[in-house]
């Protein structure tokens, strides 16, 4: 490829090469160990695809720390095989102990849902409108009258996080895990883009959390 065509994708591969060399310089066995040992992360992160919320960067984590799934507006739909298969695989065989559902301020999905809710019901006609339909429904249940836009978005973002945590707690992998005494907690977090800080909104622990059998 000519110099003029040096592009973002090539840039990424070059950055990866530099990163890999740096890692090997500090720990020559890091990658070999990572490849031979199976992964043992304790955390599953279900977050938004937004480029400003990279799970491992904002938590200063290492490769191997966080099993990750991201989608538009950090949704957990009970009928979605994609996120359900991630959760199922994460609980068993990977064996995570914490599921963190992470929303964030200034979420484009939440903004779209607020606009869509103002327009009245439409038949979802493409993947994105179908995907956001449950969030639009949630927006309709909230009282956003008189709120400035950013406060309305914040309110939707928080309600969304709580709703998705609820969905996760009702899912088969979590219901089964809790019924069989597995110690898996579900957390709802909000990441504030303007400050870079995560705040925990809600945490749900297994019913047997305090019992000695867990």
């Amino acid at each position: 490829m000519s110099q003029l065509q040096l592009n973002a994708a090539e840039d990424l591969i070059n950055a990866n090469e530099r990163w890999a060399r740096d890692v090997i310089k500090h720990d020559p066995n890091f990658f070999k160990d990572s490849a031979t040992d199976s992964q043992r992360p304790k955390v599953l992160w279900i977050g938004c695809s937004d480029s400003r919320v990279p799970a491992s960067v904002v938590t200063a984590s290492m490769p191997g720390d966080i099993f990750t799934h991201t989608n538009i507006a950090n949704q957990f739909h009970s009928f979605d095989d994609n996120v359900n298969s991630v959760l199922s695989y994460a609980v068993d065989p990977v064996g995570v102990k914490h599921v963190v559902l992470v929303g964030h301020s200034v979420c484009g999905g939440a903004q779209s849902a607020i606009q869509a809710a103002e327009q009245g019901p439409v038949e979802p006609y493409d993947p994105l409108t179908r995907w956001l339909a449950p969030l639009v429904q949630l927006v309709r249940t909230l009282d956003l009258h008189g709120l400035p836009e950013n406060e309305a978005v914040d309110k939707v973002v928080e309600a969304n996080i709580r709703k998705q945590v609820e969905n996760i707690c009702l899912s088969e992998p979590i219901v089964t895990a809790w019924a069989t005494g597995k110690n898996v907690s579900v957390h709802g977090w909000v990441y504030d883009l303007a400050t870079g800080r995560i705040r925990e909104l809600v945490v749900r622990s297994p019913p047997c959390a305090n019992a000695s059998s867990c």
Partner: protein
């Protein structure tokens, strides 16, 4: 404390990718740290970013303009932003089990649609990796007869296209390792194919006025920490 510093583009952004033995008390294993430690690490990271670039977060909150959509595996060993030394704002991300792109999956389709049409990414990178647990599971599943649909679970349904792909490959002369690598590579090529058939990409490629978007198939080698490009497709190809 030893820290690795990554310099990309005009902005210096210090990644807190540091070796666990040097960052925390020697006996703490990063992969077992509790949730509170993640929150503490986030606080430390945020403070260090502000010290380095005081207006980073304020600017980041106004809009995102990533050039890349990364569709990869949920595997914890392949965190896209760490392995490419990227900073918040660089990469729009969708990760799932075995880096699938199913043409009937609203989750991945809505990400691709939003990324191409609203965000305006220029590259879609589909990234598979060695030692993929999803691929291993499909190799095992392919050895037995197809399961009864009434006993299917989200995970078996999710992996059934990959299991079908495995059945279409001749792995008879392969060692276990060779078979896994062959499946991982075939999977990457197949998912790139799917992406190129999707509505957001076919529409973008058919429209001479649309922003140029290129689709790449990448393989991340866990044992070396390196990404290799296997295939690249654009509107010309």
């Amino acid at each position: 404390m030893l820290r690795a510093t990554y310099i990309r583009g005009p902005t210096i952004f210090r990644s807190l990718f540091v070796l666990p033995s040097l960052r925390f008390p020697p006996l703490r294993n990063m992969s077992h740290r509790p949730i509170q430690t993640l929150l503490n690490a986030n606080e430390e990271w945020a403070q260090s970013v502000v010290k380095d670039t005081p207006d980073f977060f304020a600017r980041s909150a106004t809009c995102q303009n990533p050039k890349i959509l990364w569709i990869g595996c949920s595997d914890s060993r392949v965190p896209e932003s760490i392995i490419t030394a990227s900073k918040p704002g660089d990469i729009f991300v969708h990760r799932n089990v075995a880096n699938q792109f199913h043409l009937h999956d609203d989750s991945a389709l809505s990400v691709l649609s939003f990324a191409v049409k609203e965000i305006g990414v220029e590259h879609v990178v589909l990234v598979g990796h060695t030692n993929c647990g999803g691929a291993m599971a499909c190799i095992e599943a392919a050895k037995v007869a197809a399961t009864n649909p009434s006993t299917s679970t989200p995970l078996t349904r999710w992996l059934s296209p990959l299991t079908a792909l495995v059945r279409s490959l001749d792995l008879s002369a392969c060692s276990a390792n060779e078979a896994l690598n062959k499946v991982v590579e075939a999977n990457i090529i197949k998912q790139v194919d799917n992406i190129c058939k999707s509505e957001p990409i076919t529409t973008a490629w058919a429209d001479p006025l649309a922003k140029k978007v290129t689709v790449h198939g990448w393989m991340y080698d866990l044992a070396e920490g390196r990404i290799k490009e296997l295939v690249v497709r654009d509107s010309q190809a």
